[in-house]
């Protein structure tokens, strides 16, 4: 302070006095945030419902046509989690990401909450009485001109289709156009001709070689879950496993799981099939496909030498039908059964023909149920413009979408989880569907609406509703159904839908000109648009590109160089149908003359708050059909030019390469069983060390003795560098020997107390005898990411990519995915995707998927650095995060070498904050057994500790111990490949205890001595046998493990 006049000093003094006094006064008043909470009991307690304990209902998933079985966990009348039904013969307990996300369709904030009617140009809420009255009047009017009425229905196996057909034909109207948005109609038509059914049950185990011509059987072509499980089982056969070759212009997720990729021009797949069949030469095929004759000759030889070979093809181009027919003729693994839930859908050409009739003014009334043709059909097809001409349009959609936004009357259907129904997934098997809770909103099942409306004329049934109708048809009636519902399946047959309408003549648009071929592909989780309104699916990074919330143009790195662009630079993709400015994503798995754009995003404003993220790839597609009536997605030529703008890629990928870190390791299949697997495929560091193979049991001396005796643990293993050095010595239960609160004996003489409390294996609780651990088999993991969505569902993980969730104070980045560009995604479990090889830009590269989650390290780097002891090591082996202690220092995340800790930068879990991730009623899905974390708290995988506690509590109530494999964690339960196994590694009765001893087992970053509880089993590669014997593929010991 200067010695100036008194005035400035007095002002300052006064100011401080005032502030001080008011500050003290404010605190004296105190913060009393006592809210009065009410406890509302039931009026009548439902039977067998115990509050706080979940009730489980078996039903059928309707997210795609496969009709897998689902067990819905409900708590207090609300569905909170879906699991696969273990008794269902199709999915056998697994559930894909789309199935898990059905809950976000049920609780979507953009669902129709009441019927809507158009007045004055806008849709307004109305009551069911009024809506049904208007519907009845319009129907009566329409019956005078029945040929002017069209109904577009979503294909769904079961009795609903026939009921709808009976209703329509009873009024003299045409049967519904039955559309499956994900279906491959070329394949379906060819399958019907070759096998007699629409979709085969692919028998991968019977094949010695699988050749797929663009058939993405692991990510959306057909029934993904059973196909993935059957494929993983076939590949687990080691030396007897089939080799897998993928042919296509773009390497999809299925292609990344193949042993070899033939990057053929789109449309040339047919000549390649003909080459294998012997009706074309390798030179002709090379000319057409752009692949060298030498590689094609090798493929021919392999095909001839390795039989039986399974040949499958997807029809995505104009010659799709011919390709699928030729592939089926060449297929030597003929399927014996079909997946009957795919019977009954019609090709999209019927929709296009309907559009033409609407354009011609022939349709006076249009009804649409659960299909979105305005989005699904490219704008160039003219459907949307034609639909605007129909005088009266009714939508039964349960959620807002582009088609229902054009409707004059919306009679919202119940969600599939709120509905009765049935399905026929396999011959002789009926999958039952029942509501798992009361409808969330004021909606009614379509079948009930039809039954009610029909009563004024020719009644569909004298029974009051669809449930009664199902009961009347079920063998044994109500009692029989009640007995069958707990398992969710019954034996029997449902009347099959009849498909017989002749195909309209196909449309072949001019592909336009341009030096690129445009490939618009079915997104693995968003499909052709269905999944875009579910934040879990938008936030799930695409397994191939790792892009979320965004549409990118995928081009080859060499092409990018030629165009002068890098990741994020925009290119203008122009076709005869339209143009889009998209950020570039450089991808090795695409031909240099091809540009690929994923379908599914870029919906209109009318489709809700989540679906408008990204851009609509269908705007680029010039509408064209194959001869089976399906849309040709690869028939458009495009011009791609740099347009000078830039967007950050919304990606979770750090690097596509391992740079020698040894995170994803692999062995060659011929190494299995020879002992060479231990040294193979490691990082530069771990290559010298023997891996941390674990030994179950409680006797340390026995463990050390075994280690000395087992020679295959690495001849290089010399003396330990320090006591408990991970590479040389191992302790039972995957524990770290240096954590002295876990292993007092090795703690050193400076330990003041030998009291170990709960960490003593002899403690009465027995907690220290457990070591919760996990084994992840990289040979089975396909990268599908079902585990990620299951984890989001189970653990209340917030999505952060919506456009309102960014920073409010001085936002530096806005828009969809802004938080993700700041690395703020919250996924406790993520899929790392690493490429090996292909640095020259060629097609010969390998992909390794590594599910990465908290490793629950025995010697965790994150535990000692927390200043408030919010994270610590529990006696049963978990690395625990106590949310209420955490002050948000973030040192733990800083120290974690796996980077598996996630910080709540904003109040994603706090309803009062702007970034709240669960707008009503999405918060109904939240798991009450898991704390919802607020701002400033660190979180990470807990090994589903709530499930561990639940199992322990249940066992104690029943006066027993927890049985081996009695329960598992959410990710393991969902995985369609059965890649994840969880359990107690210190108890040899659990499956995981055997797996952690596998010859392929390794720990990521084991040279850091973190003693992880997560053990990975090395991926098994199947290089071509001719290459191995010719010596051009290195054998085990020097397989490059990540350079």
């Amino acid at each position: 302070m200067s010695s100036e006049t008194q005035k400035p000093g007095v002002r300052r003094r006064e100011f401080l006095k005032v502030v001080g006094a008011t500050g003290a006064a404010a605190t004296a008043i105190g913060c009393s945030s006592e809210r009065v909470e009410k406890l509302i009991p039931y009026f009548v307690s439902p039977d067998e419902t115990v509050p706080g304990v979940s009730t489980y209902y078996a039903t059928t998933c309707r997210e795609c046509s496969a009709a897998c079985g689902v067990i819905a966990e409900t708590r207090d009348g609300r569905a909170i989690k879906l699991e696969g039904n273990p008794d269902h013969p199709l999915n056998r307990g697994a559930l894909c990401a789309r199935g898990q996300a059905a809950l976000q369709g049920l609780y979507n904030p953009d669902r129709y909450r009441t019927p809507m009617i158009r007045r004055g140009g806008r849709l307004e809420k109305t009551t069911w009485d009024e809506a049904l009255k208007v519907f009845g009047e319009k129907l009566a009017e329409a019956r005078r001109n029945p040929v002017g009425v069209a109904f577009v229905n979503r294909h769904q196996s079961g009795g609903l289709g026939p009921l709808l057909t009976t209703w329509l034909t009873g009024m003299g109207m045409a049967p519904p156009i039955t559309i499956d948005p994900d279906a491959d109609h070329a394949a379906i038509a060819a399958n019907r001709e070759a096998y007699g059914f629409a979709w085969p049950r692919l028998e991968f185990s019977a094949a010695r070689l699988i050749i797929s011509f663009g058939a993405d059987f692991l990510d959306g072509w057909g029934a993904s879950v059973p196909q993935q499980l059957d494929f993983a089982d076939a590949r687990a056969k080691g030396i007897d496993a089939p080799r897998f070759v993928y042919v296509g212009a773009r390497r999809s997720l299925t292609g990344l799981n193949a042993d070899e990729w033939i990057d053929a021009r789109p449309g040339s797949e047919l000549i390649l099939v003909q080459m294998l069949a012997g009706t074309a030469t390798a030179e002709q095929a090379a000319q057409a496909s752009g692949v060298s004759a030498a590689r094609l000759t090798a493929l021919q030889q392999e095909f001839a030498a390795t039989q039986p070979a399974m040949v499958i093809a997807a029809g995505s181009g104009p010659n799709g039908l011919e390709l699928c027919r030729a592939a089926n003729a060449l297929n030597r693994v003929r399927p014996s059964t079909g997946i009957t839930s795919f019977e009954g859908s019609e090709p999209t050409s019927h929709l296009r023909a309907l559009g033409q009739r609407m354009q011609g003014g022939q349709i006076t009334m249009l009804m649409v149920h659960n299909v979105d043709p305005v989005y699904m059909l490219p704008r160039s097809s003219g459907f949307a413009a034609a639909m605007a001409k129909v005088p009266f349009k009714v939508s039964f959609s349960s959620i807002v979408d582009e088609t229902s936004a054009m409707a004059d009357l919306v009679l919202p259907d119940n969600h599939s989880l709120e509905s009765w129904g049935d399905a026929q997934p396999l011959s002789g098997v009926v999958s039952l569907q029942q509501p798992v809770m009361d409808p969330v909103f004021d909606t009614r099942a379509l079948a009930d609406v039809l039954i009610q409306v029909s009563k004024s004329g020719a009644a569909l049934t004298p029974l009051p509703d669809y449930r009664s109708l199902l009961i009347s048809r079920f063998p044994g009636g109500a009692a029989g159904l009640a007995a069958a519902l707990p398992r969710g399946i019954a034996s029997g047959s449902l009347p099959q839908a009849v498909v017989g309408r002749p195909l309209p003549a196909s449309v072949n648009a001019n592909p336009g000109n341009g030096d690129f071929t445009l490939v618009v592909y079915h997104h693995p989780v968003l499909g052709f648009g269905d999944g875009a309104n579910k934040p879990w699916l938008q936030e799930l990074p695409d397994p191939v590109t790792k892009i979320a919330w965004q549409t990118v143009a995928e081009i080859h790195p060499a092409t990018a160089k030629r165009l002068g662009v890098e990741n994020g630079d925009h290119v203008l993709v122009e076709t005869s149908a339209g143009k889009l400015s998209l950020p570039v994503f450089m991808y090795l798995g695409i031909r240099p003359d091809t540009v690929a754009v994923a379908a599914g995003r870029g919906h209109a404003e009318s489709a809700g708050r989540y679906a408008k993220a990204g851009a609509n790839a269908f705007d680029l597609l010039s509408y064209s059909e194959d001869r089976a009536g399906g849309i040709a997605y690869t028939a458009t030529r495009a011009r791609v030019t740099k347009d000078g703008t830039f967007s950050r890629l919304v990606t979770t990928e750090g690097s596509a390469r391992q740079h020698g870190r040894g995170i994803a390791q692999a062995v060659v299949v011929t190494d299995l069983g020879t002992g060479a697997t231990r040294e193979a495929g490691g990082s530069e560091h771990a290559a010298e060390a023997a891996p941390q193979g674990s030994v179950s049991g409680a006797n340390q001396e026995r463990a050390l003795g075994q280690k000395a005796a087992a020679g295959e643990h690495g001849a290089e293993a010399g003396e330990p560098e320090f006591p408990g050095d991970a590479s040389h010595e191992f302790l039972p239960g995957l524990r770290s020997p240096t954590a002295n609160d876990a292993q007092g004996e090795l703690g050193g003489p400076e330990l003041k107390s030998k009291e170990k409390g709960m960490y003593d294996p002899k403690h009465w609780s027995g907690m220290a005898n457990r070591r919760w651990a996990m084994a992840i088999d990289l040979a089975r993991c396909t990268g599908c990411s079902a585990c990620v969505t299951a984890c989001y569902a189970e653990n209340n993980i917030p999505t952060v990519g919506a456009d309102w969730q960014g920073s409010k104070f001085l936002p530096d980045r806005t828009g969809f995915g802004a938080n993700i560009t700041r690395s703020r995604e919250m996924s406790w479990l993520r899929l790392e995707r690493y490429f090996e090889g292909g640095e020259d830009g060629g097609s010969d590269f390998e992909t390794r998927f590594v599910p990465m989650l908290c490793q629950h390290c025995g010697n965790a780097p994150c535990e000692p650095v927390c200043p408030v002891y919010a994270t610590y090591h529990a006696p049963d082996g978990l690395n625990v995060q106590v949310y209420n202690r955490c002050v948000g220092t973030r040192y733990c995340s800083n120290n974690c070498p796996y980077k598996v800790r996630y910080f709540n930068w904003f109040g994603y879990g706090e309803p009062a904050r702007a970034q709240y991730a669960f707008p009503e009623p999405l918060n109904w899905q939240l798991n009450p057994d898991v704390t919802v974390r607020g701002k400033g708290v660190m979180e990470k995988c807990t090994f589903c500790v709530q499930r561990i506690r639940e199992a322990e509590n249940r066992a104690t109530l029943e006066h027993r111990g927890v049985e081996p494999d009695e329960f598992t964690v959410a990710c393991a339960e969902a995985c369609p490949s059965r890649a994840i196994t969880f359990g107690d590694a210190a108890d040899e009765r659990w499956s995981v205890a055997k797996l952690v001893n596998d010859e392929r087992a390794y720990h990521v970053f084991e040279e850091l001595n973190t003693y992880t509880a997560v053990v990975y089993l090395k991926k098994v590669n199947h290089p071509s046998s001719s290459l191995v014997s010719a010596g051009s593929v290195p054998s085990a010991a020097s397989t490059p493990g990540g350079h």
């Binding site: 302070m1 008194q6 000093g9 300052r12 003094r13 401080l16 006095k17 502030v19 001080g20 006094a21 500050g23 003290a24 605190t27 004296a28 105190g30 913060c31 006592e34 009065v36 909470e37 009410k38 406890l39 509302i40 009991p41 039931y42 009026f43 009548v44 307690s45 115990v50 509050p51 706080g52 304990v53 709960m758 009465w764 609780s765 907690m767 610590y872 529990a874 006696p875 049963d876 978990l878 625990v880 106590v882 949310y883 209420n884 057994d929 898991v930 704390t931 919802v932 807990t942 500790v945 709530q946 506690r949 509590n953 104690t956 109530l957």
Partner: protein
Amino acid sequence: MTKQRKWFAIPGFLTLAAAAAILSAYAGASSTQGNSPVQPVPFPHPMHVQTLKMNCVYCHFSATKSPDPGLPAMSTCMGCHTVVGTTKPGVQKLASFANKKEPVPWVRIHKIPEYVHFPHMRHVNAGVSCQTCHGNVQNMAQVSQQNSLNMGWCVNCHVGRSNPPFKARYDCATCHY
């Protein structure tokens, strides 16, 4: 210190000290101990438990099966009260809810934070009586929260300082997850 500085610094320090003292009175875990709200229906535990000898679990039925002890459904109450005590004002108040087919909106008394998971069934089945934590509810005409239910109070028992001592886990992840 200069003369002028002390007129600024001393009141400043005093204010800080006062604020610290006042704030520290609010420090420590908050609790609803002593909470005794008025309920919409004046349910008397002494009548039902002492006079009529009803067991706690007759109404709070899930205390042995679930983390949540449960509240009786209206049908449990009306099971008797459609005919019993219909002239009493409390029963009439109950009936007014039941006749409108509305459940009674009880005011919550015991509340622990949402980041703690307390399993009633583990405690009840281990032999911890309801009165241990909830006090002598059978004597309370209007139920009040007897104990703080703070973590320190809970952990006392878990580390074996209760009388008689219980064997309970005191690992953090037992309750905090």
